[in-house]
C-alpha cells in the first residue's frame, strides 16, 4: 500500500492504495466517482476514458501510480456550477444518448478531440471516436452531437 496523491476535477486528495490498481477502480471505489465506467478492461471500448493532462486516457489500463501528480478530469468535472460543458450540452440537444453507459467516455473523448482539432473533418471525428463503442449503436446521433460540439467550439476560437 502507498499513499498516492491524486488531483481529480481540481481537487487533490491522498488515497491509500496498491500502486498497481487501475485508475478506473480507484476513481470508482475509493473516490466515489462512478461516472467513469468499466466496459472491457482492455482498452477496446473507451467507456473508462478520462482526461489525463487534457489527453483522453483509458483509465482501465492506467495504473493509479501513473496518474499521480497529473491533472485528472472525469465526467463529473466537466459541468461548472451546474452549467453543462458545451460538449455535454451538444449531446443533450442532439439526444445522442440511449442507454448512456458509453456516454461519459465518448463525451470526454470528444472534449479531447475538439481540443486537438478545433475544426475536425468528418474523417477526423470518425477516427477520433473509433475506439469508443456504443452498443445501442447510436453512432449516427453521436456523430451529429460531436459535429455540433465542434462547430460550437470552432465559432468561439
Amino acid at each position: 500500500m502507498a499513499a498516492i496523491k491524486l488531483t481529480v476535477n481540481g481537487k487533490t486528495s491522498s488515497v491509500d492504495t496498491e500502486a498497481e490498481r487501475p485508475l478506473l477502480e480507484v476513481l470508482r471505489e475509493d473516490l466515489g466517482l462512478t461516472g467513469t465506467k468499466y466496459g472491457c478492461g482492455e482498452g477496446q471500448c473507451g467507456a473508462c476514458t478520462v482526461l489525463l493532462d487534457n489527453r483522453a486516457t483509458l483509465s482501465c489500463l492506467t495504473p493509479v501510480r501513473a496518474a499521480e501528480g497529473r491533472k485528472i478530469v472525469t465526467i463529473e468535472g466537466l459541468a461548472q456550477n451546474g452549467t453543462l460543458h458545451p460538449v455535454q450540452q451538444a449531446f443533450l440537444e442532439e439526444g445522442a444518448v440511449q442507454c448512456g453507459y458509453c456516454t461519459p467516455g465518448i463525451i470526454l473523448q470528444t472534449v479531447a478531440l475538439v481540443e486537438a482539432h478545433p475544426k475536425p473533418t468528418d474523417a477526423e471525428i470518425v477516427t477520433g471516436l473509433n475506439g469508443n463503442l456504443c452498443r445501442c449503436a447510436d453512432y449516427h446521433r453521436i456523430f451529429a452531437a460531436v459535429r455540433r460540439a465542434a462547430d460550437a467550439a470552432g465559432k468561439k476560437s
Binding site: T74, Y101, V126, A137, Y139
Partner: protein, 685 residues
C-alpha cells in the same frame, strides 16, 4: 375501469391513488390468473402526479413514453408527471420489458388509469360547481370553468371527492384518439438524458451501499466442468476477505475489486475440475440438424399442397442459410448489489425481468418471496440479453455469507462466456415459380432459432413454414426480435434469388407478390428516397445496391443500401430505411431506435460470430468479436411513416430485421456472389 378500481384517499401527502387491473394482454405466457389491482397513479398535495410501472428503462425510452402517455390523458404538461418504475415493491407487475410490449400493452394501461383519474376529477368539479361534467374542460392540468381554474390537487382535496367515487363512472374513460393528441405524436427529448451526460446517474454497477464489499466469482475453465475440489485457505488468510464455497459456487468478497481479484487469483489454481467433452463451432450447423427434434411438435403451418406444387413448378430453387450465434454484449456487463437486513433481501440489478429475478432469488436463497425486493435502476443496455438473474443471485449469496452488502460486477470476459447467446439458425428453403414466373410453392424450415417472422408475407398459393427445435451447444435466449432476424434474412436473400430466376427487378418481384399494404408502403418509400430505379440503371464498378423488407410485431420495415466491396470486405456507403409502427408516440425516440437498430444489425450481418471450442468461447473479447464502430457508420436516412389510423406498435426490435438481407443482396449486386450466411464470411475478391 369501474368504481371499485378507484381506491381510497391515501395519507402521507397522497390525495388520490388510482389502481388499475393489469390487462390480460400484459400477461405473457398465458397466465390466466385473476387480474389483480395495482396502484398505478398517485396525485400528491403539491400537484405532482406519480405514474407507477413495473417496466424498466435500459435506454429504449420506456420511461419517457409512459410519462407522455399519462400526461396526454391527464392534460398536464409533461414536467408534472413523475415516473416510478422497475421496483418489485413499489410498482405494479407489468411483466417482462420485452417483445416490443411497452407501447402496445403497457402504455394503453397507463393511459386508461390517467384518463380515469381525469374523469374522476371532472366529476368532482361537476359536483362542486353544480355543472354538467360534459361541459367542463380540462386544460393544462386544471379544470376550466367560467373563467376559473380548479387544479387537480385542489379537486383531490375537495370533500366532494368521496362522493364522486360513489358516482357511477363511465365504464371505460375514453382514451384520446391519435388525431387529437397534444403531446403524444410530437418529438419529445428523453427525460433522463441530463443525468446521463453528467455522469450523475447511478447504473446498477454504480450502486454503493454502506459497508459494501466487491465480489468475484470463480468460473469453470470450460462449459460443463464441475468442481471436484478447491482450497479456500489462501484467500481466507487475507485480511478483509470473505471466501465462500457452496457446492459449485465459489466466490470471494473484499473491500475493493482489486482485493477480491487477488483473493480469487490465490485460490483458483487450487481448483480441480472434472471436464466434459464440448462441441465446437466448426460443425455447429451439422449439429443443429443432427439434433433437430422433429417429433417435439414443430410449430408452423401449411397451406395448399406444397410437395405437388414444387414438383409441378416450372423453376425450382433451393438454398440453405446459416446464422451464427451472436452476443448482445451490452456496454454494461451484468451487475448487482445485494443487501440483507433482518432476513429481508434487497437487490439492485440490471434486468428486464425483475419479477422473475425476484422469484429466482427467493428460491435460491430460501427466502419468502415477500421478503425479496428487486430494484432496477436504468441500466446500460440489454437488447434481450438481461432476462436472467445470475449476478443478482451471486451477489445475494455472497452478501449473506459476508454479512454485508456485496456488489458483483461481471467482467467483459465473463459476460462473453457466461451470458446467453442469440440462437444460431440453420434455415432450409425451397421455392417454385410457375410458367408465368410467379411464386407457386414455398417450403421454409428454421432449425433451432425460433418461429418469429416465420411465415412469408409474399403471396404464394402453396406454402409450408416450420420451426424445428434442436439441442443447441450454447446457452441461448432472447435477443432483440430474436429469430425474426434470421428468418427474414433467409427469406429476403432467397427472394432476390427468385427474382433473378424470374428475370425481374428485386423491387418489382416483391411488389408483384405483396398484398400487405403497409409493407408495400415502406418498401415504396425506402426505394423512392433511395432512388432505387435510377440507381439500378447506373452501375458503378465494385459497388452494389440491395433492398429487403419484412414485418414482425405489427410493424413493417424496408431498407435499401449501397456498399462497396474492397479486398473481399463489404463497406456500407448508404442506408435508407423506412419504418411504420402505427400511430407514433414519440418520433424523436422512434428515430433513435430505428437508427440504432440498423447499426446494431450491421454487426451480425458483416462480422459478429461467436466461435467456440473445447467448451470455451474463442473470441470473447471486443478485439476479436468485432461489433459495429464509428467506422461502420454509412450515410444513414430513416423515414418514419405515421399512421394515426392504426394502433401504436412497439418499435425497439423490428427495425433490425431488414439490414442484413439488404446487405446480402447488395453484395450479390457488387460481386455476383450469393451470401447465405450471417455473418457474411469471406468473399472471393
Amino acid at each position: 375501469m369501474n368504481r371499485r378500481e378507484f381506491v381510497e384517499i391515501a395519507g402521507a401527502g397522497l390525495l388520490i391513488v388510482v389502481t388499475a387491473p393489469l390487462s390480460d394482454a400484459q400477461r405473457r405466457g398465458g397466465d390466466a390468473g385473476p387480474a389483480t389491482l395495482e396502484s398505478r397513479l398517485h396525485i400528491a398535495e403539491d400537484g405532482t402526479i406519480a405514474i407507477l410501472s413495473g417496466k424498466i428503462e435500459e435506454g429504449q425510452g420506456a420511461l419517457t413514453e409512459l410519462a407522455m402517455a399519462a400526461a396526454e390523458e391527464l392534460r398536464v404538461p409533461l414536467d408534472r408527471v413523475r415516473m416510478v418504475i422497475g421496483d418489485t415493491e413499489g410498482t405494479p407487475n407489468d411483466g417482462t420489458t420485452a417483445g416490443s410490449g411497452t407501447t402496445p400493452r403497457t402504455a394503453p394501461v397507463v393511459r386508461k388509469a390517467a384518463a380515469a383519474a381525469r374523469e374522476l376529477l371532472l366529476a368532482v368539479a361537476a359536483r362542486q360547481l353544480g355543472a354538467d361534467a360534459a361541459r367542463l374542460e380540462v386544460r393544462d392540468g386544471a379544470v376550466q370553468f367560467a373563467g376559473k381554474r380548479y387544479s387537480y390537487a385542489d379537486l383531490a382535496r375537495s370533500p366532494e371527492l368521496a362522493a364522486a367515487y360513489k358516482d357511477a363512472l363511465p365504464a371505460g374513460a375514453a382514451l384520446t384518439p391519435a388525431r387529437d393528441w397534444q403531446l403524444l405524436g410530437k418529438p419529445q427529448a428523453r427525460l433522463d438524458t441530463r443525468d446521463l451526460v453528467t455522469g450523475a446517474h447511478r447504473f446498477p454497477s454504480d450502486i454503493v451501499r454502506p459497508g459494501m464489499l466487491y465480489g468475484r466469482v470463480l468460473r469453470p475453465p470450460s462449459y460443463g466442468a464441475t468442481l471436484a475440489g478447491v482450497d479456500l485457505s489462501a484467500a481466507q488468510k487475507m485480511p478483509g476477505v470473505t471466501a465462500v464455497r457452496d457446492g459449485e459456487f465459489v466466490a470471494c468478497a473484499a473491500r475493493t475489486t482489486f482485493a477480491a481479484r487477488k483473493a480469487l487469483d490465490a485460490i483458483s489454481p487450487t481448483a480441480q475440475w472434472n471436464r466434459v467433452a464440448q462441441p465446437s463451432s466448426d460443425d455447429l450447423f451439422a449439429q443443429l440438424k443432427q439434433h433437430a427434434n422433429p417429433n417435439g411438435r414443430p410449430s408452423g403451418q401449411e397451406r395448399g399442397s406444397v410437395d405437388k406444387a414444387l414438383s409441378d413448378a416450372a423453376h425450382k430453387l433451393k438454398a440453405t442459410y446459416q446464422v451464427a450465434f451472436v452476443q448482445h454484449a451490452p456496454m454494461e456487463p451484468r451487475a448487482a448489489v445485494a443487501e440483507w437486513q433482518d432476513g429481508r433481501l434487497t437487490v439492485w440489478t440490471g434486468t428486464s425481468n425483475p419479477g422473475s429475478v425476484r422469484q429466482q432469488l427467493a428460491e435460491t436463497l430460501h427466502a419468502p418471496l415477500a421478503n425479496v425486493r428487486v430494484i432496477v435502476p436504468h441500466f446500460g443496455g440489454g437488447f434481450g440479453g438481461k432476462h436472467s438473474a445470475e449476478a443478482a443471485v451471486e451477489a445475494a449469496r455472497l452478501a449473506k455469507e459476508a454479512g454485508r452488502p456485496v456488489a458483483v460486477h461481471w467482467t467483459r470476459a465473463e459476460e462473453f462466456m457466461w451470458a446467453y447467446f442469440r440462437p444460431a439458425a440453420l434455415i432450409e428453403v425451397e421455392a417454385g415459380l410457375d410458367s408465368a414466373r410467379s411464386l407457386s410453392a414455398w417450403d421454409f424450415t428454421n432449425y433451432n432459432s425460433g418461429g418469429s417472422a416465420l411465415d412469408t408475407p409474399y403471396r404464394v398459393p402453396h406454402a409450408r413454414v416450420k420451426f424445428i427445435g434442436s439441442d443447441p451447444p450454447l446457452k441461448q435466449g432472447s435477443y432483440r426480435v430474436l429469430a425474426a432476424t434470421a428468418n427474414n434474412f433467409a427469406r429476403e436473400a432467397f427472394t432476390d434469388e427468385l427474382a433473378e430466376a424470374a428475370g425481374k427487378d428485386p423491387l418489382e418481384f416483391r411488389l408483384a407478390h405483396l398484398d400487405n399494404e403497409r409493407l408495400r408502403n415502406v418498401l415504396a418509400a425506402a426505394a423512392e428516397r433511395f432512388g432505387w430505379a435510377e440507381r439500378r440503371k447506373k452501375r458503378r464498378f465494385g459497388t452494389g445496391i440491395g433492398l429487403a423488407c419484412g414485418t414482425e410485431k405489427n410493424s413493417v420495415v424496408a431498407a435499401c443500401c449501397e456498399l462497396q466491396v474492397e479486398n473481399g470486405v463489404p463497406r456500407l456507403i448508404e442506408v435508407v430505411q423506412a419504418f411504420e409502427c402505427g400511430a407514433i408516440y414519440n418520433p424523436a425516440n422512434l428515430r433513435a431506435q430505428v437508427e440504432g437498430a440498423i447499426m446494431m444489425g450491421v454487426g451480425p450481418a458483416l462480422r459478429e460470430e461467436i466461435l467456440f471450442k473445447d467448451g470455451k468461447i474463442s473470441n470473447g473479447r471486443f478485439a476479436s468479436y468485432r461489433v459495429p464502430r464509428f467506422r461502420d457508420l454509412p450515410k444513414l436516412e430513416v423515414i418514419l411513416l405515421d399512421r394515426k389510423d392504426l394502433e401504436s406498435a412497439g418499435a425497439g426490435e423490428t427495425p433490425i430485421i431488414a439490414i442484413a438481407p439488404a446487405i446480402a443482396n447488395a453484395v450479390f449486386d457488387a460481386t455476383s456472389q450469393r451470401v447465405r450466411t450471417m455473418p457474411i464470411g469471406s468473399l472471393r475478391s
